[in-house]
């Protein structure tokens, strides 16, 4: 059994990656202690937080129902003063790294969309095929079983027709555990319009129960607020895994802010140290440590943990910790249409165009994923109609028109792992006196060229095919909330932080699974790949502890 100060496996972070590793380790008979910086809050209270937000905060402020504790700060988009922000951002595209993860037990899956794309075999071989980025240290065939296991572990619904599955050129070992969620009227229209110009809008595989319960969680009932929170847990989030982990004997300590990784003989990790909310420090030992705080908090913690053996920080002999920060730089267009589109039926995202992510052009510019947001437009329509000074029936009519006849089209670009995009420790500190993360971000010419020559013209074409009467493009690149890089994977210890199992090259008993390890970002959502890497790491962890 795990105690509050020791276990076979100590896992820092209770998001999807930490929880998947925890469940596998417990199933293998290992004792597990999880340390979470943030609080553990009832789902229904978060739901009520969301519903109590003022209308202006209810869209695009996904962090707002998750007010951070002083000891576990995260980005607060409603705080106006940037200087007081937790995330310190700089560089030509600072705005494109405004990552909205929350430090709550359950992690950022609390407010993810649930989209579960797999990478293509080409996505894992960018260097060999296109001469850009990095190759993965293993092929798609190695990852495939872990993709399948992840889909079954978190419950992914998706199409059974191979023609609608992604990637198109790699076999699946098992069908999706559930059938797809049907398209709403807006998505049906988009699919038809896109098909006319060679863009294939696919039903998105998503960790959301379609028509049936899965692992005791109910089917989706279409509340259409997957972010910021699924009120009934029809969408998987790691918070739903926490009681299962406890039922298997795992221990979870919330409000435990790990601030230092301690190494010992042979540079093995001996302990981690955390602060409780009274700023009292505790030391926790284990046979093996997993830092699963994703691509910002994990490198931050490693950089904080400098010692005599590791003068650049733990796991950082390659100097790659905190480098290669990636996310898909996003552009969107607000469009008005002559005919009603009616987004908002079903989940907030439910389909995407992916055939635009692949091609020989990737040697010159980024591939990109196109999609349409499927959230209900009524709050936006109401605000815009009120602004026009309308009253009475004219107001009602305009609200209805703006809710039905507007849409947001989005394009997310594939990033490259560039050492220049770098997380360092800011001189500014948080409530506990811990350095805030500082990130320099430049989307690079690879993405800018793609936007100019490829994606913006395609976006305009898509809008016009939908019948757009106006097209307003976002003025700058934005974040997609898919934090990658930071602890990059590779077979060479000199150029990568972790090996093919997400084990730190420098420390045999330290694992850093998750988005930080991904050697390529690609244009699609990262979570399923993170989950697959977690399960691959879990296999390595249990093998290492069970059989030495």
């Amino acid at each position: 059994m795990a105690s509050d100060s020791s276990a076979d496996v100590v896992i820092v972070g209770t998001g999807v990656v930490g929880c998947l590793v925890a469940e596998r380790a417990l199933d293998a008979g290992l004792s597990v202690l999880m340390l979470e910086a943030g609080p553990r809050v009832d789902r229904w209270r978060i739901v009520e937080n969301y519903r109590n937000l003022p209308p202006s905060m209810r869209l695009f402020h996904w962090d707002a129902p998750y007010p951070p504790k002083p000891w576990a700060p995260h980005l607060e988009t409603r705080v106006a003063k940037e200087s007081e922000q937790y995330l310190q951002l700089e560089g030509p595209n600072a705005r494109a790294y405004l990552q909205g993860y929350v430090r709550y037990a359950g992690g950022a899956t609390w407010h993810w969309a649930g989209i579960c794309w797999r990478l293509t075999p080409e996505d894992m071989r960018l260097k060999s095929l296109y001469g850009v980025g990095r190759d993965w240290p293993f092929g798609h065939d190695v990852l495939e079983p872990y993709y399948t296991a992840a889909e079954y572990a978190i419950g992914v619904c998706g199409p059974s027709d191979p023609a609608l599955q992604w990637p198109p050129n790699a076999e699946r070992s098992k069908p999706y555990p559930m059938g797809p969620i049907p398209f709403g009227p807006g998505e049906t229209r988009l699919t038809e319009a896109a098909a006319r110009i060679g863009m294939m809008n696919l039903p998105a595989p998503q960790a959301r129960n379609s028509g049936v319960s899965y692992h005791g969680r109910p089917p989706c009932c279409g509340n259409n607020n997957c972010f910021p929170v699924c009120p009934i847990a029809a969408k998987y989030d790691a918070a739903t895994a926490l009681p299962k982990i406890e039922a298997k004997g795992g221990k979870i300590l919330a409000n435990a802010v790990v601030y230092r990784v301690e190494t010992g003989e042979k540079n093995a990790v001996e302990a981690v140290h955390y602060f409780d909310p009274n700023k009292v420090s505790h030391r926790v030992t284990a046979k093996l440590f997993v830092i699963a705080c994703n691509g910002i908090e994990t490198p931050k913690l490693l950089l904080l943990s400098k010692d005599d053996r590791n003068s650049n920080g733990v796991a950082n002999s390659s100097d790659q910790v905190g480098r290669n920060m990636m996310d898909q730089p996003k552009l969107f267009a607000e469009v008005e249409l002559a005919e009603p589109l009616w987004t908002g039926v079903g989940p907030v995202q439910s389909s995407s165009i992916l055939n635009t992510t692949q091609g020989e052009f990737r040697n010159r510019y980024a591939g990109a994923m196109f999609r349409m947001e499927n959230f209900a437009r009524s709050p936006l329509g109401s605000a815009a109609a009120l602004k026009k000074g309308l009253v009475g029936k004219a107001l009602d009519t305009e609200i209805r028109r703006l809710s039905a006849c507007t849409a947001r089209l989005t394009v997310e670009h594939e990033p490259l792992p560039l050492p220049i995009n770098r997380l360092t420790l800011s001189s500014k500190t948080d409530w506990l006196g811990i350095n805030k993360p500082n990130i320099y971000y430049d989307v690079s010419d690879y993405v800018r060229r793609s936007a100019k020559e490829y994606t913006v013209p395609r976006l305009q074409q898509l809008a016009s095919e939908l019948g757009a009467t106006s097209f307003q493009l976002s003025p700058e690149f934005l974040n997609s909330d898919h934090i990658m890089g930071g602890c990059i994977m590779g077979s060479e210890a000199a150029t990568a932080v972790v090996d093919a199992d997400c084990r730190a090259h420098d420390h045999q008993n330290l694992f850093l699974p998750g988005g930080g390890a991904m050697p390529s970002g690609t244009a699609s959502n990262s979570t399923l790949t993170m989950a697959a890497l977690a399960l691959k790491a879990a296999d390595a962890i249990t093998a290492q502890l069970k059989h030495g």
Partner: protein, 476 residues
């Protein structure tokens, strides 16, 4: 030559006749097996004898009773562990008298008092089905070990003498064939009284109050007599058939707990004519009125919402504050599916919370149990699912007893019977599996032990009397 040819011809005809007889025998057996399978479904043997995720009829399902946990037995064709070595007579004795092959008594968790109604023909069909068509599973189910004195199975002899009516079903010539078919199913295979008839001190069914409602573990099997206020007298025959087939009747009721299982595993598979016969008979069951019932449980409550008083009152918080009010719990836990005003969804998948027997009944047991355990029922390939809020590892919103009390009372006040108040103790009782028998409490004080001794005494006297009476016949 002629005569030998004639003989050969006769032989061939005889052989053909033999062949025909053999095929028709096989067809007969297949038909008997089919009928046995149908009866096993009607009797819902699998509800208890098939544990989730295990082989059919291999037993091992823990059944919580007011006297302790009883494990269902293996009734597959396995010789060593099931009923494979039972003769038809032994099988019939187990099914209809509650006596095992080895002579030990079964507990009446096995509804043999209902199955006693089975005709010889139907017992035969069940015997053939279980011993020839059900796949043998060669492992034993866990042993039932009830606390003293209930662990003395012999005590059941006295119980049976007092409470087992061993007569098979006798049709009532004054009623229609449909009514009689319904009565046979309801009293026998479907064993409705096992749950819906209240039980007396010794756990016997109180036949004078047949089908007037009783506790079943954490759930309450309500009054299904023809009383228009306390029972289901307001339902049409079609209503009842639809309910039995789907477990759902919009604006009335939905099946959960063991009734949900009965609909899923048994009723939905019955023929239309058997469901109609069942409904015809149930509608004729004598009304039993509970004088404290002022209105039907199907008409209580109305559409309403207190959301306006909630919004903006509490800001966003990062703590699990103590003692939330019922209105807040309702908004956070219920309205996402049942709608802000409790009206459910238009297609009826999410039931309305008013005009609903779970909230309209004066006895709030089913409301509490539904919140704690949820609903999971599959009919016609479609699932009706409500998550539990009782703190199982799969429950996304675990609520404690106090929260469920507050939530339940809010629902009762706004959408249900009103006037009733759920207590924290009541929630705790339903959470722990329902009320336990006073028999068990008394047993701990030794009083029931005395009662059992007394029962054994009565049984012994009755047994001797019977022996004395039957002696002359035996002697002749």
């Amino acid at each position: 030559m002629g005569s030998s040819g004639h003989r050969l011809g006769a032989l061939l005809i005889g052989f053909a006749g033999f062949l025909a007889a053999d095929t028709s025998h096989a067809a007969d057996t297949a038909a008997v097996i089919d009928r046995g399978a149908y009866l096993a479904t009607a009797a819902d043997c699998g509800a208890c004898h098939t544990a989730p995720g295990r082989e059919p009829f291999a037993g091992g399902l823990p059944i919580s009773t007011p006297l302790g946990t009883i494990y269902s037995t293996n009734i597959t064709a396995s010789g060593e562990f099931g009923v494979g070595r039972y003769t038809e007579e032994q099988f019939s004795r187990a099914l209809r008298r509650g006596v095992r092959r080895d002579g030990a008594n079964l507990y009446p968790a096995m509804p043999y008092t209902s199955y006693a109604k089975f005709t010889e023909d139907d017992v035969h069909a069940l015997f053939v089905y279980f011993t020839q068509a059900v796949k043998a599973v060669d492992h034993s189910a866990p042993k039932t070990e009830l606390p003293f004195p209930m662990n003395i199975r012999l005590s059941m002899i006295g119980w049976n003498l007092l409470f087992l009516n061993s007569a098979a079903f006798v049709p009532d010539p004054n009623q229609s064939a449909e009514w009689n078919r319904g009565a046979y199913l309801v009293q026998g295979a479907a064993h409705c009284s096992t749950c819906h008839t209240p039980r007396g001190f010794l756990m016997q069914e109180q036949t004078s109050r047949a089908l007037s409602g009783a506790s079943v573990g954490p759930w309450y099997a309500p009054n299904i007599t023809s009383d228009p206020t306390s029972g289901i007298g307001s339902w049409t025959k079609d209503d009842l058939v639809a309910y039995l087939r789907t477990g759902h009747l919009s604006g009335m009721a939905q099946a959960a707990g063991s009734m949900g299982e009965a609909v899923e595993h048994s009723f939905q598979h019955l023929t239309a004519s058997d469901l109609e016969a069942t409904a015809v008979y149930i509608k004729s069951v004598p009304a039993i009125h509970d004088p404290s019932d002022e209105a039907s449980r199907f008409t209580a409550g109305r559409q309403s919402s207190e959301l306006a008083t909630l919004r903006g009152r509490d800001g966003v918080k990062s703590d699990n504050g103590a003692d939330p009010a019922g209105a807040l719990l309702f908004a956070g836990n219920c309205v996402s599916c049942h709608s802000a005003e409790g009206q459910g969804s238009k297609d009826g998948y999410y039931p309305s919370l008013f005009h609903n027997s779970a909230t309209g009944a004066k006895n709030a047991t089913n409301l509490i149990a539904a919140i704690l355990y949820g609903v999971n029922r599959v009919t016609m390939g479609k699932q009706a699912f409500m998550p539990g809020f009782g703190g199982q590892p799969t429950d996304a919103n675990p609520l404690n007893d106090r929260e469920i009390m507050a939530l339940g009372n809010y629902v009762l006040t706004h959408y249900g019977a009103g006037g009733t108040a759920i207590t924290e103790q009541q929630v705790a009782e339903v959470r722990s599996g329902g009320p336990s028998s006073p028999l068990l409490m008394l047993a701990r004080g030794g009083i029931a032990a005395a009662a059992v001794v007394l029962l054994l005494g009565i049984a012994f006297v009755l047994f001797r009397r019977r022996k004395i009476v039957s002696r002359p016949a035996a002697a002749s």
